[in-house]
């Protein structure tokens, strides 16, 4: 829990959302102090540890992090999509249009999932039923949620497939998922999600398995659909490149915690969490000549079987001080649009210098992992 005494005079109120270009009164989803655990035979996995953030109507945010950082689990848990047990929501609230999703009965949650919040997953092959035609899968939700007749539902489904750019949509309705390419399947998934005109679309690594050319198509499609239908978008990814071109605001997660949250320009120009800095310095650029070795981050992400004491990044961080190991830093506001969970870099006398000077020297081959 953040210590209220840490608040500085210029801090925005801790219990309110940060100020962004979006009208704060139009907060669509408000997650507070969410904690998710998995009780496994090896022990308790602390997957999501006290995270809070919100998304406004029509806003695009990205949640960035590496595998196992809790970025997908946090989203799936608020939609009731994690198996319980072993999963367990140990605390927090997730207010969506005035209702707490975490306490909603399953039948109501099903309505929310189908109509208000839609989710597109990474693996379109496993998200579609391989033994049912696209027609059957697309019309089911239309008939179910909107009481459409078969003809109406089919007509609407064809319209949606055309909208997402599937050529020859009418004929392809009778095809099975395996007859589509990866990019086309992802388009079908998006068409299915749009069927109900949701106010929030959650895209969980939707382009990770795709080639860059197809990824560009999908990113463009989702942006276009979002603008057209005015929905909010949460894009979960590990790819900072996609984030730069798509998101208005970025949340960086590490070991089940939010370590930094900022508008997209501040995050890339003026990152303050050492993990964000290191991630950016580890990326080569396609549009620039090579200037140096990549800056690598030594070690690997922590095992979430142990609830981290202190800052989870401390063992891999070059700025670590004693306090980092004993006390978990809260998200400290740096500006109205940026919050960073770090004891060191948020102090007034810390100065970030870009790239080679970020201090992340590459690990030499002789250093043990």
């Amino acid at each position: 829990m953040p210590d209220p005494t840490l608040a500085r005079p210029h801090d925005p109120p801790r219990d309110g959302p940060l100020r962004y270009a979006h009208d704060p009164s139009r907060l669509l989803l408000d997650i507070r102090n969410l904690e998710v655990r998995f009780n496994t035979p090896e022990g308790v996995v602390y997957a999501v540890n006290d995270i809070s953030y919100g998304i406004h109507e029509g806003e695009v945010i990205a949640i960035v992090g590496e595998s196992g950082c809790g970025k997908s689990v946090s989203m799936m848990s608020i939609l009731g999509l994690i198996p319980k047990p072993p999963g367990e929501i140990a605390g927090g609230t997730a207010t969506f249009m005035g209702r707490d999703l975490l306490t909603l009965p399953e039948s109501d949650l099903e309505q929310v999932r189908g109509i208000e919040i839609a989710m597109v997953f990474q693996d379109s092959m496993t998200s579609l039923n391989p033994v049912l035609t696209i027609s059957r899968q697309m019309t089911e939700s239309l008939r179910r949620h909107y009481n459409m007749t078969d003809e109406q539902a089919t007509a609407r489904a064809i319209e949606l497939l055309e909208l997402v750019g599937i050529p020859d949509a009418e004929r392809r309705m009778s095809d099975y998922p395996h007859q589509f390419s990866g990019g086309m399947r992802q388009r079908v998934m998006i068409a299915m999600m749009l069927a109900c005109n949701p106010s929030l679309l959650i895209a969980d690594e939707p382009t990770t398995a795709l080639d860059v050319t197809i990824q560009a198509q999908i990113v463009e499609l989702v942006s276009r659909m979002r603008e057209r239908l005015g929905m909010a978008l949460i894009w979960i990814t590990h790819d900072l490149g996609v984030v730069a071109g798509l998101a208005e605001r970025v949340i960086v997660m590490y070991a089940g915690m939010i370590v930094e949250e900022a508008d997209v320009d501040s995050l890339f120009d003026n990152p303050h969490h050492p993990y964000t800095m290191a991630l950016l310095a580890a990326l080569p650029r396609v549009d620039r000549r090579r200037d140096n070795r990549l800056n690598s981050i030594p070690g690997s992400p922590p095992n979430l079987l142990n609830k981290p004491r202190g800052c989870p990044f401390a063992p891999r961080c070059i700025y670590t001080i004693d306090r980092c190991r004993s006390e978990r830093p809260p998200l400290i506001p740096l500006s109205p649009t940026q919050r960073t969970a770090c004891w060191v870099t948020t102090s007034d006398d810390f100065k970030y210098e870009r790239r080679q000077d970020s201090g992340y020297e590459s690990q030499s081959a002789g250093t043990y992992e």
Binding site: V212, T213, G241, G245, D265, A282, R293, N295, A365, G366
Partner: protein
Amino acid sequence: MKDDKIRDMNLKALAPMSDITPSNGHEPLVRVIDLKKHFPIRKGLIIRHTTGHVRAVDGINFEIARGETLGMVGESGCGKSTAGRTLLGLYPATGGETHIAGYHVQEATGDEWMAIRRQAQMIFQDPFSSLNPRWTVNAIIGEPLRVHRIIEDEAARTERVKELMALVGLDPRFINRFPHEFSGGQRQRVGIARALASEPIFLVCDEPISALDVSIQAQVINLLEDLQRQLGLTYLFIAHDLSMVRHICDRVAVMYLGIIVEMADKDDLYEKPQHPYTQALLSAVPVPDPKVARHRKRIVLEGDVPSPINPPSGCRFHTRCPIAQPHCATHVPEWREITPGHWVACHEVEPKFRP
């Protein structure tokens, strides 16, 4: 003794080679000449008959100089991985030939074959499925030493395995651990140590980092660079991450549907791409900088890669090409050197190239 023999064979075979001069001016270590790999499509339950061929690699030519890193990029299904395996002789070639350090890979047998296997190694994409889960790291890394009879004494072999582990940044104390006890990045290091055990001179790295997290990717890339410098290795680096390819490679070849459409020094290729496919591919790569990303012009290609069973006539890219002309569907573009070291196969690069 054995080493001397191999070295002699190398020297004998390294005659002056072809018209394509690799960028750094050194003699080529690897030569690939019109290499083809077609996979038959068989149908029928009792009477099996071949109904067609997947033309995964359909005539590629390139050379790699000693100490050079050649990148090979393209979308999934373009044949880049098949090319890597076929040129090593892991798949029998349908046509064409490869020469590695002077050995003719497709004709080698017996001692020569073993010498190629020893000198040319592969690093695989998936560090989870490419290591035997029931073997200790000692057995995995030591296997090439045993197979090639490099070190026959078991205690001495264990010592060498420890050295190799240290070389790739793994703690030698973990020598008796099993693959599942390591993280993804560490497992990739085990795979690299195994590849290095037989002291190869040429490594095919097939998507070596795409299964790893960003923070681990940089570790493995830096390791590969350090090893190249220390051991004088030559790499064929197959990847779909165009940013990483620009970072690590000297030259880059772009593949589309089984053929190479453009090849050049990396900065030349990334700054002055000539083939419309290369241009589209590069424009689709996201840039981790919001200000640049906002103003980047994307060339969005329509549709997916056509089937390699029946590749399009003429230029294979004409069905998706934004500047395709009628003659592109009828005439196969010639492979031309437009500036020194910059090769491209496209009719539309210059008006005089049109048929």
